[in-house]
């Protein structure tokens, strides 16, 4: 792999950018791999990268039914934060945050990670109490967060309407929170994983799992059978479908979640502002588009589109808070399918099938965890024992009762 640097940029500029090396190969699948990762999104590619780079297992394939980062990695609102209430969540999201902070250097790929600050608005006494409780819990876990008064919010976002139908009574600020370029995360991990020896196989759909007794033997795919010592499923939107192929059920339901972006405008909003109680969150991309995360439709669906009423319920509060945006035109709207668990925490777990691991159920907020999720999942697969940070997210918690209830803790905005 040729390293990217100022010198490579100059060298290629002189050659009219004709000689850039391909970022990753497109190999035909081998007969057998030590580990097969199902799902070529951010989490899957990160898992493959850390398996090869840190765990000494480079005979790895990533199998993707479409193209890299074409699922929820390419559909999210790119927000990164680690201000979660419970210790288990704080551990994994802060683990991810620390990896985010060095990720562009680690991968030699600019993931455009921007710690521009993230505001969580409070609109009622209840909201204030919630951010108070959560802010102190976050402090106890050694993660940064600050309480802001309405006038401090106004200093950060001068055009916000504090005194509207949803009055702003305060906010929780995580300065280290921000955004990253979602596609670059998938591409950066893919390039680095490929350089470390991982085979990335696109347009290859998994159609079944081959098991002998209770032990995984490999995966049946649209390009034939691929044998594997261990299999890690890292999919969003279809984890229940894969689990059914392997013969078990998951505590997961799938819903459409929508987002929309506006036409690009000059810089106006230099932080992320989210509001759990009225579900309006907004940031501005480096291209200048306003990125708005809407709510999810409240019924099971795999349709990858949502209802217009959900958009209206999101845009209404956005315009109350930011009347200046009233004449913005929206360019695109889309839906992704999110796999949601009852406690709104992910599943990183062994399964009833030996050597088959699942990392899924990230619900509406998996993007922020991408590096941490891949890192702990890779170590878990390599050792055959769950990494201490991943262990609490076992599927068994739905039988033992040890839920990690971020649904109640973080309201709806993840």
């Amino acid at each position: 792999m040729n390293r990217y640097s100022i010198f490579s940029l100059i060298r290629n500029a002189i050659r009219y950018h004709q000689d850039w090396q391909q970022s990753w190969r497109s190999p035909t699948p081998k007969k057998k791999y030590d580990v097969v990762i199902v799902g070529g999104g951010g989490h899957g590619l990160a898992t493959a990268y850390y398996l090869a780079a840190e765990c000494g297992i480079s005979n790895v394939a990533v199998i993707e039914k479409g193209w890299l980062g074409g699922g929820n990695t390419g559909r999210n609102t790119t927000i990164v934060r680690s201000n979660y209430l419970w210790d288990e969540s704080a551990a994994i999201y802060e683990h991810a945050m620390k990896l985010w902070e060095g990720l562009s250097q680690t991968l030699n790929y600019n993931v455009m990670f921007s710690q521009r600050g993230l505001l969580h608005l409070a609109h009622s006494v209840h909201d204030l109490q919630e951010i108070g409780r959560r802010g102190h819990a976050i402090h106890l876990n050694g993660i940064d967060s600050e309480f802001l008064t309405p006038s401090q919010v106004k200093q950060m976002v001068p055009f916000i309407n504090l005194d509207c139908r949803y009055p702003v009574m305060g906010a929780l600020l995580q300065k280290r929170g921000g955004t990253a370029r979602h596609d670059a995360v998938a591409w950066g991990y893919a390039r680095a994983a490929d350089a470390a020896g991982v085979d990335i196989i696109q347009n290859c759909e998994v159609t079944g799992f081959r098991q002998q007794g209770n032990v995984i033997q490999g995966v049946e795919t649209s390009q034939g059978f691929i044998a594997a010592g261990k299999v890690g499923c890292v999919v969003a939107g279809h984890c229940s479908v894969l689990a059914e192929m392997a013969g078990f059920r998951l505590p997961v339901e799938s819903f459409p979640l929508q987002a929309l972006v506006s036409e690009p405008v000059k810089p106006i909003l230099d932080c992320v502002v989210m509001s759990g109680s009225i579900h309006a969150y907004i940031s501005q991309s480096d291209k200048g588009e306003l990125v708005i995360g809407a709510g999810s439709d409240a019924y099971n669906s795999y349709s990858q589109r949502g209802g217009f009423d959900v958009i209206e319920e999101t845009v209404g509060p956005v315009l109350e808070l930011y009347p200046v945006f009233s004449r913005m035109k929206m360019l695109r709207q889309w839906g992704g399918i999110v796999d949601v668990t009852i406690d709104r925490s992910p599943l990183i777990s062994k399964t009833p099938v030996e050597n088959l691991f699942f990392n899924c159920g990230w619900g509406t907020g998996g993007f922020k965890a991408t590096p941490g999720s891949g890192h702990v999942f890779a170590h878990s697969i390599a050792r055959g024992e769950m990494h201490p940070i991943a262990a609490p997210f076992s599927i068994d918690r739905f039988n033992s009762g040890a839920l990690i209830d971020e649904g109640a803790a973080a309201a709806v905005a993840h």
């Binding site: 059920r249 998951l250 505590p251 799938s254 669906s301 739905f398 039988n399």
Partner: protein
């Protein structure tokens, strides 16, 4: 967004309704006898079907009564609705 045929009120907009997940899950007959695994399975684990899905809805902003719906979760097309206690509807292709 779609139209739902409420068995009591007729066709109404989906926004009048709320979905409540998989239908025809039998409540345990002897709750005291259940193991942790069986309880967890009953409370939390779901089919989450991709395709023809049997589910419960409530007409929250209408008659406020419960009923069952057969819907394709890929296309959101509704094949049938029925009142609780009625036989499980078949699916016409």
């Amino acid at each position: 967004m779609f139209i739902i045929d409420c068995p009591w009120c007729g066709q109404r907009d989906q926004s009048e309704f709320t979905a409540h997940g998989e239908a025809y899950i039998a409540r345990p007959r002897q709750p005291g006898q259940l193991s942790d695994e069986e309880w967890g399975d009953y409370v939390f684990f779901r089919k989450n079907t991709k395709g023809i899905h049997y589910e419960r809805w409530v007409h929250s902003h209408g008659c406020r009564r419960w009923f069952n719906v057969v819907r394709d979760t890929v296309t959101d097309r509704i094949h049938a609705t029925c009142k609780p206690g009625e036989p499980r509807p078949g699916v016409k292709e």
